[in-house]
């Protein structure tokens, strides 16, 4: 794992000192509210419906046991005893007081963490594949590059006042677990003629105008990466629209100018910028890489796992659902569900954070990951330790066996916390999860991603849900629109609307009808919901949603 250099540590300490002074200068009137706002945002402090919210970065989703314990300590000391893991590998505290924030930042700095550039019109926390370093299908670990980009983008003097926020994600596998097609810049590590480089995608995004990113360059050698992305952001900083906040993201810039025009501008800018990188960045990359060396994997028999798997149905169900193949055949990747049926997706209590930290220490080589699906991951666990891990998770109410299933829902905060919401989303997620739990169907249904947003800003990624749900306000009444067929992975697709929306009372039965239609039409358990939708198209699902409802009412 990456450990701060003296430079990083001094940087964060100095930044916290600056922010403390900014808070004081806001209070004494030196800074107007307008001037203070971008400064607090670039330090992670957001103003929500009820209170301030502090968004802490977990760069590329990687975190140690000690850091996780500190997150628990912060939750207990300055918040209400829990934190919320987000879809961009951050953790949010929903109830801090402004005067406590500098202290919270110092507590983060103690464990080499920060909240820098998690908000505001800046380059945001760089995200990466949550299975990085552990996945069986990886070309190369993307995290050293993500760390290099973190350093490059941190306090970049040109890019602290961009037209709008700017998000970068990096993946090291063919299989995309980092949603790269829906980022402002998405990077995928590829090999060409024995050389490592990146396929660079720009202009993807969700929000009110969802767009799939376009390839601007199919191969940028790794030595040229920083200069190339600096050229992109530099072009965007001047060209991006500042007259209309809803048209300010680079996806609109690319859409309005066309990818060829943008590519030409980027190439010209790149030619100027490239000579300013003389190799120091590559030396730093080398040093960063050595810090991401894999742990020395334990060697032991796996009998304990095999016999428990054989004899315990519940364990088997959890293992089948929550484990992923590891690069080492005797290890597994464990995904810990933060989606207990009926709970708030992504929330973890301080005790749960400590329980996960302890498991990482005992059985997980001291490493944890946060996924963009709002779950926590132990990336390396030897199979012989899985029974002990499972038992401890059960005790902490963290053993829900639902990863990738219908109740593993992404939901934005919605009306419960968010000032912009037009409908509730967390309660809908809870009702859906509870309903399918009652039916005891979820394991039969198999892989199905439901994503819910409480307004068109799409924080819940509904556009890329196999089933997407968007909560709107229609004449004072909550109305939920359904989209089908979205996909945030390498098959990138935006969902298609089914037709008229449903009321809060109707939405859960409507989802149930959709799933029943899938079960009736699928060729077998191996054909997932998404595959069936792609084969069958909208019609049978539409019929289930609208005609069957009418038939029932008649």
């Amino acid at each position: 794992m990456y450990s701060y250099s003296d430079f990083d540590a001094a940087f964060v300490a100095e930044r916290n000192r600056q922010f403390r002074a900014q808070v004081e200068r806001r209070l004494d009137g030196s800074l107007t509210e307008d001037e203070f706002k971008p400064l607090r945002l670039m330090n992670g402090l957001y103003l929500q419906l009820h209170a301030y919210m502090l968004r802490v970065a977990i760069p590329y989703g990687t975190i140690s046991a000690r850091q996780m314990r500190q997150l628990a300590h912060i939750a207990e000391t300055w918040d209400k005893g829990y934190g919320h893991f987000t879809t961009r590998q951050n953790i949010q505290y929903n109830w801090p007081r402004l005067k406590d924030v500098p202290e919270m930042l110092d507590a983060l700095a103690e464990v080499q963490m920060h909240a820098i550039q998690t908000s505001g019109n800046t380059i945001r926390n760089v995200t990466a594949d949550h299975f990085a370093g552990a996945a069986a299908d990886e070309v190369e670990d993307p995290r050293p590059y993500a760390e290099l980009i973190r350093q490059w983008s941190t306090d970049h003097p040109e890019f602290q006042f961009l037209p709008r926020k700017f998000k970068v994600a990096v993946s090291g596998s063919e299989h995309d677990r980092a949603v790269i097609a829906f980022h402002d810049i998405g990077l995928r590590i590829v090999q060409k003629d024995g050389q490592t480089g990146f396929e660079v995608v720009v202009g993807g995004g969700l929000g009110r105008t969802p767009m799939i990113g376009k390839v601007i360059n199919s191969f940028v050698p790794k030595e040229d990466l920083l200069a190339y992305i600096e050229a992109i952001v530099s072009v965007y900083n001047l060209l991006g629209r500042r007259d209309n906040k809803y048209k300010a993201r680079i996806k609109i810039t690319v859409h309005e100018h066309g990818i060829d025009d943008i590519r030409e501008r980027v190439e010209a800018r790149y030619a100027q910028i490239r000579p300013t990188f003389e190799g120091a960045d590559q030396q730093m990359l080398g040093a960063i890489k050595s810090q991401f060396a894999l742990p020395k994997f334990k060697q032991a028999a796996t009998d304990a796992y095999d016999s428990r798997y054989e004899n315990d149905v519940l364990f088997r169900s959890w293992a089948d659902t929550n484990l992923t193949a590891h690069r080492d055949a005797d290890h597994s990747i464990v995904t810990i569900s933060l989606k207990k049926h009926g709970a708030t997706p992504g929330d973890a209590s301080a005790d749960q954070m400590r329980a996960m930290a302890e498991l990482a220490e005992l059985y997980g080589y001291d490493e944890l990951r946060i996924s963009h699906e709002q779950n926590v991951i132990l990336p390396h666990v030897h199979k012989s330790d899985l029974p002990a891990v499972y038992d401890a998770l059960r005790e902490a109410e963290l053993a829900t066996a639902n990863i990738g299933l219908v109740s593993d829902i992404i939901a934005c905060p919605g009306m419960d916390y968010c000032a912009l919401a037009t409908a509730r989303s967390i309660p809908i997620a809870q009702e859906i999860a509870n309903r399918f739990d009652e039916l005891k169907m979820e394991h039969d249904i198999g892989h199905l991603k439901i994503k819910i947003s409480g307004c068109i800003n799409a924080c819940g990624h509904h556009h890329v849900g196999h089933i997407g749900i968007l909560g709107l306000d229609r004449g004072g009444v909550e109305t939920y629109q359904i989209t089908l067929g979205g996909d945030g992975t390498e098959g990138a697709a935006l969902g298609t609307r089914t037709g008229p929306g449903f009321s809060a009372e109707e939405i859960v039965p409507a989802i149930e009808r959709l799933v029943e239609a899938y079960m009736d039409h699928r060729e077998g358990p191996d054909e997932t919901f998404l595959a069936a939708y792609r084969r069958l198209g909208m019609e049978p699902f539409k019929a289930a949603l609208y005609e069957d409802a009418r038939a029932e009412a008649a």
Binding site: W152, F161, A280
Partner: protein, 138 residues
Amino acid sequence: MSVIVTDSGFGADDWAAPVVPMEEAGPGTTAVAVPSDAEPLALADFVSAQPDLMMIRINFPSHADGRGFTLARQLRLAGYEGRLRAEGHVIADQYAMARRSGFDEVEISDELAQRQPEDQWLFRADWKAHDYQSRLRG
């Protein structure tokens, strides 16, 4: 009146010659005012066609508008070595960004200088320290 901020704090404006808008520049023009929406390639061409140019002043219409930083950087990359000034709504917290992007100085209003006195600017005069960019580009 306005105040000029440099690494040594507040000072008076020592630039006496007129600063003219880009489109009015001609032979003998020594200083131009550049708006924040200038096109960088055109700007570079313009600058290389003005042999007498000694100062460029880039406007910041709002502290939230960061275009000026990229324009300054572009001018430096294109080889401009004369005086480069940021003018308008630039706040003390942006001083380090301005210097790192290639500006020599910042011109602010008296009102802003009163609200954000000299010590708040000097707090960021250490802009060479804690700079990821200079580390990565060494």
